[in-house]
């Protein structure tokens, strides 16, 4: 096919796709007026039956809590898979070489980058804890807060305090955190089965709606997800970091 014919075919196909998309968009319900009954039904359910003010948290951790368990296990296995793949390419000596290289490179980190990293690490850590702890009250929760927590470790790395990083980010601790988070979620699911008769059914006191400790199992699940996500992201990033620092082919 000549380039002109190819362009013609592509443009015709794109025009057809654009027309179909336009027709589909014109048939959408008006913004803020969903057709199904569930969107409006879920709000009183979250407030009165589940005692949480963040409706999204009630949906993700109760109404479709088993889905979230599956998602969490997907992230867990993805992190484990990536780690196994990356680690099979290197030995223990390589890891030591990577740490040496990291130390040498840290000396050359520009001072402003170090200062910004050092200044932001603390506030970002607090923000991450806040987002995880208030998951049942305000937008955010375990997933978002977990990634924010992992980014605090990244900032410590950017600050170039390598020695401290080795203390903050020992890989064993990160691995344990990831496994602990995933296990804690499954345990809460089993707890519902044992104490309330159905998996992920609430078995803790609800407390006062709007308080930090309210919503029964939802804050517990939020913390579990936060620890798991933080561990998974930190683990993937530290493995990729070792890969980037490794000298392949060096003796």
């Amino acid at each position: 096919m000549s380039p002109a014919v190819r362009r013609g075919v592509a443009l015709t196909a794109l025009a057809g796709l654009a027309a179909a998309l336009l027709v589909a968009c014109l048939g959408l319900p008006d913004f803020g007026h969903p057709r199904g009954p569930y969107a409006t039904a879920v709000i009183p359910l979250a407030l009165d039956a589940r005692h949480v003010t963040s409706v999204v948290a009630a949906v993700t951790f109760d109404i479709r809590g088993i889905d979230t368990l599956g998602e969490e296990l997907i992230l867990f296995s993805a992190a484990v898979g990536a780690t196994v793949l990356l680690r099979s390419q290197r030995g223990e000596d390589d890891t030591r070489a990577a740490v040496e290289r990291q130390r040498a490179l840290a000396e050359r980190t520009p001072a402003p980058v170090r200062r910004v990293g050092a200044a932001l690490a603390g506030p970002v850590l607090v923000l991450g804890v806040y987002v995880v702890a208030h998951g049942q009250l305000t937008p955010g929760g375990g997933f978002q807060g977990g990634v924010v927590l992992a980014s605090a470790f990244l900032l410590v790395y950017a600050a170039g305090h390598v020695v401290r990083l080795q203390r903050v980010r020992p890989v064993a601790l990160v691995e344990a955190g990831e496994a602990l988070g995933a296990g804690a979620y499954a345990l809460v699911a089993v707890g519902g089965l044992v104490f309330a008769g159905a998996a992920l059914e609430n078995f803790l006191p609800y407390g006062t709606t709007g308080q930090l400790l309210s919503g029964g199992t939802i804050p517990v699940l939020n913390v579990a997800v936060g620890v798991e996500v933080c561990g998974a992201v930190a683990l993937i990033l530290s493995e990729l970091l070792d890969q980037a620092l490794l000298r392949h082919g060096a003796p």
Binding site: G32, Q144, I236, H248
Partner: protein, 82 residues
């Protein structure tokens, strides 16, 4: 429709197109970050702060750092292969 929503939608279209047209991967990461921010603002304007937060953490922390580290690794392989 609220004009604010239209502006955010236009921003998403603009930054998304820009991301496609930037060819250098390292520069593309920066444009993709701006695209992610535009998406987050759009989600926020449409009343979905939860999705906006997820968008921010994924498009400004997780994806760029992982992609940068991968690029660093690939560049090193290139240099050593020469």
């Amino acid at each position: 429709m609220n004009p604010l929503l239209l502006v955010t939608l236009a921003l998403v279209a603009l930054t998304g197109t820009a991301t496609v047209f930037v060819r250098d991967p390292a520069r593309q990461l920066v444009t993709a970050g701006v695209f992610g921010l535009a998406l987050a603002i759009m989600f926020f304007a449409f009343g979905a702060p939860d999705v906006a937060l997820s968008q921010i953490v994924v498009s400004t922390v997780a994806v760029p750092v992982m992609a940068l580290l991968t690029l660093a690794r690939l560049h090193r392989d290139d240099r050593e292969g020469e």
